[in-house]
């Protein structure tokens, strides 16, 4: 049970928030993270078109051999991505709560410009609390 990191990707595919928690995955530079977030944004759009049975959402969980990425897409197109170990069962719940914190601490902040990188101590604290208790 480990939570490795959190990404928030805006609706244009830009990485607006990135934080690492537990060790265990590669330490990437911010530039590499930006590229990966952009790639994920594109893949997410394609996966919705490949459905063999009826309409489909984009990818929700992507699994490797030792970790998985849980993706939560909001109604406005923002993606919350949580990188966790494979046996982490509450990733979806954590993402919901992070979304709530985002709505409270970021969207209601009059000094925040939408779609721009998130620099908010209030949000950082709320995320730490959620991941810490999660």
């Amino acid at each position: 049970m480990a939570i490795f990191g959190l990404w928030i990707i805006n609706k244009a595919g830009g990485l607006v928030y990135q934080r690492n928690f537990a060790e265990g995955l590669a330490q990437l530079t911010s530039n590499e993270n930006l590229v990966l977030a952009g790639t994920l944004h594109g893949i997410h759009a394609i996966t919705a078109r490949l459905s063999p049975m009826g309409p489909s959402s984009g990818a929700q969980v992507i699994e490797g051999e030792t970790f998985k990425m849980t993706i939560f897409l909001t109604a406005t197109g923002t993606k919350f991505v949580l990188l966790t170990s494979l046996n982490e069962t509450i990733a979806e719940i954590l993402l919901q709560r992070i979304y709530e914190a985002y709505a409270d601490a970021v969207m209601k902040n009059p000094f925040h410009t939408p779609e721009m990188p998130i620099r908010s101590d209030g949000f950082d604290t709320r995320v730490t609390a959620i991941i810490g208790t999660g």
Binding site: L25, Q27, T47, S51, P52, G58, I62, T66, M69
Partner: protein
Amino acid sequence: MTINSLYIFDRHCICVYYQDWHRTRRPKPAAEGGLLPGVSQAVSPGTSAGPSSGFDSPRNTLASSSGTVVAINEHTNPQLSIPMAPTGVTSTGLAFDEEAKLVYGVVLSLRNMIKKISGRDEQFTSYRTSSYKLHLFETPSGYKFVMLTDQKSEMMRSVLKQIYLVGFLEFVVRNPLIKMDSREQGIDNDNFRSAVDRYVRGLPNYN
């Protein structure tokens, strides 16, 4: 629990085999020249023009009366051909060759992404959406087995590995009439297709 489709890609990013089971959203047949011959009868260009069109491989010199036919792709076995279900089938709006490229692109990108994030030689295994799940098994020789199932299916890598070990090695690798790595011919043959079909239909989650 449902199994929908199986794609096999070789190391040159080319789709060399395709098979599907109860898909309700189907791709359009591939564009002329977009797909190698010998991938799948069901999605080859000009499938309506007759079974022999577009297939003029050297294998055609084998007459079915001359003994055992090991690899021939002119005639589909009636119970193996996938009939177009008359109702409830919609189109993905994509030609099959386009769809195969998208599948390969997604698999390759995710594979690289997983390697990059983990910082190790870690394999991408699967992803799921609200309606389906995609599984990947890659052989050391670079063949990629991709299977689409419903989203509740568990790990299918063992199944894909089994298809590789039993069907692929036996009826493709050990088949002298299959030109592997040729970039001009798929690996479709009746024995392989029926072996895969039999194996998949016997799975508990085939449905």
